[in-house]
């Protein structure tokens, strides 16, 4: 009996590992920022280098941080969705213009439309490191209490926004963790 049970048992264990292991999304890394206070950045505004912008100005209100760059193909892909989300006006979108060229970035916004209430210019990628950015585009939802509620890596779509972000909005507004 054991002769049959042992191989079957081993096979089941192996199959279980492979099922869960191979089915897992290994491209998206879990962010250690979820549930923690959003890192504060203070950077020059993309549209006006003489003015600075800090996300601490938005404390008390939920907002979205979208990491983008004019060099980033995925950002072009998601741009239409961002414009639509901005049009709905549920929550303001802050742009973190990551490692970009100012003129090219401004040109991009002029050509494709500007979904951001403001874009911060992170040309050295320092704010990006604080936010654990490893591949633009990345989209974060921050609650009224300043805590990070959600991170999405890869281009966002209206469907992803509706399924994964919108259900969190009441929580984001209430500011409870």
């Amino acid at each position: 009996m054991l002769k049959y049970l042992l191989p079957i048992g081993l096979f089941t264990v192996l199959a279980g590992f492979l099922y869960f292991g191979l089915g897992r999304d290994k491209q998206t890394l879990p962010s250690p920022l979820i549930g923690k206070s959003a890192p504060i950045f203070e950077l020059a505004r993309l549209d006006d280098p003489s003015k600075s912008f800090s996300n601490s100005e938005l404390a008390g209100k939920p907002y979205v941080v979208n990491v983008w760059g004019s060099w980033c193909v995925g950002c072009r892909q998601e741009h239409g969705a961002l414009l639509e989300i901005a049009r709905r006006g549920e929550v303001p979108i802050v742009g973190l213009n990551y490692r970009d060229d100012r003129d090219q970035a401004l040109n991009w916004l002029q050509q494709l439309g500007d979904p951001y209430v403001v874009s911060a210019f992170d040309d050295e990628g320092r704010a990006g490191i604080d936010w654990g950015v490893y591949g633009a585009p990345e989209t974060f939802l921050i609650g009224a209490n300043g805590k990070v509620l959600k991170k999405h890596v890869a281009p966002i779509t209206v469907e992803i926004w509706e399924q994964e972000f919108v259900p969190l909005l009441p929580q984001a507004k209430a500011g409870s963790p």
């Binding site: 890394l29 250690p32 490692r99 320092r126 490191i129 936010w131 654990g132 490893y134």
Partner: protein, 143 residues
């Protein structure tokens, strides 16, 4: 011949020394060695299978700059690793810490060896109990 050999060795070590940046990050060789060791323990998350010491990706360059600055600020190895995992998670470390989630990963080699030994013992002890001539196998030439 000797000179050629020396030249070959120097070329090889020259490449090693400048594997990371175009110039050494620190003048102090001890700090430089520590910098290179830490850079080899941190993963470039853009390229996944490379350390930030090996990668030319922008993110790796940024993380090396951050590492240099943290070291220059006098942070300990532990503080630097915490700085990185606070932002990027345990995945940024090439050597994952032993936690409940990674316990199986760390124990896997030992478990495999133990499993192998158990199987070997069973097989050998069974075989050694068999009579020298196996009646089921008439042997060569008998078929």
């Amino acid at each position: 011949m000797k000179q050629l050999f020396l030249a070959a060795i120097l070329t090889f070590f020259g490449l090693q020394a400048f594997a990371i940046d175009t110039a050494p990050a620190f003048e102090d060789p001890a700090l430089q060695a520590r910098y290179e060791r830490l850079a080899r323990e941190l993963r470039c998350l853009q390229c996944r299978s490379e350390t930030i010491a090996d990668s030319n990706a922008q993110l790796a360059a940024d993380l090396r700059r951050q590492l240099r600055e943290l070291m220059a600020a006098g942070k300990s190895d532990e503080e630097i690793k915490t700085y990185m995992t606070d932002r990027y998670g345990d995945y940024v470390l090439y050597k994952p810490p032993v936690t409940g989630r990674t316990l199986l990963l760390w124990a896997a080699p030992a478990l495999l060896v133990i499993g192998g030994v158990i199987v070997a013992v069973i097989v050998i002890s069974r075989k050694s109990k068999l009579p020298d001539t196996d009646p089921a196998d008439p042997g060569l030439g008998a078929s």
